[in-house]
Symmetry: C2
Subunit: 83 residues, 2 copies
């Protein structure tokens, strides 16, 4: 069985996001004054082969912990759906 | 009214994703053979002030088209929720 895992990785709220601030300033400079805050993260899509949805979620979670996200600075959440 | 817009920006399927391939190889080298494909995109969260959900969606869509996404190489989708 194949599963698609869609992972969102964001900087923790307490950590300054200079890339987000830069985009916020750019948006303001082209007239978007109603955008009050901007934060940037990563979006990762994995195609996982596993025997069960639980196993696919386990593999995704392990991959996030070991490689994809930095647990000190980042939070992650993901959704796994069968294809 | 304040709205949160969560935007996912991904490279179009036809476009090679070298960053995704690099992560795929790293995952394989640490033993994750069951991850068959990896694609990387951006995740952007905007805090938008608007009079209605429609207006907030319009602002988000405009910001994606004008600044956040590259319409030639990237696809985007977003969800706007009231806070």
């Amino acid at each position: 069985m194949k599963f698609s895992s869609k992972i969102k990785i964001t900087l923790r709220k307490s950590i300054l996001d200079p890339q987000g601030k830069a985009i916020e300033h750019s948006l303001k400079s082209i007239g978007y004054d109603s955008i009050l805050d901007t934060r940037i993260g990563k979006f990762i899509e994995l195609l996982v082969e596993a025997d069960s949805p639980e196993k696919a979620k386990q593999i995704t979670d392990d991959a996030c912990k070991k490689l994809l996200a930095n647990p000190v600075m980042e939070d992650y959440e993901f959704e796994t759906t069968e294809l």
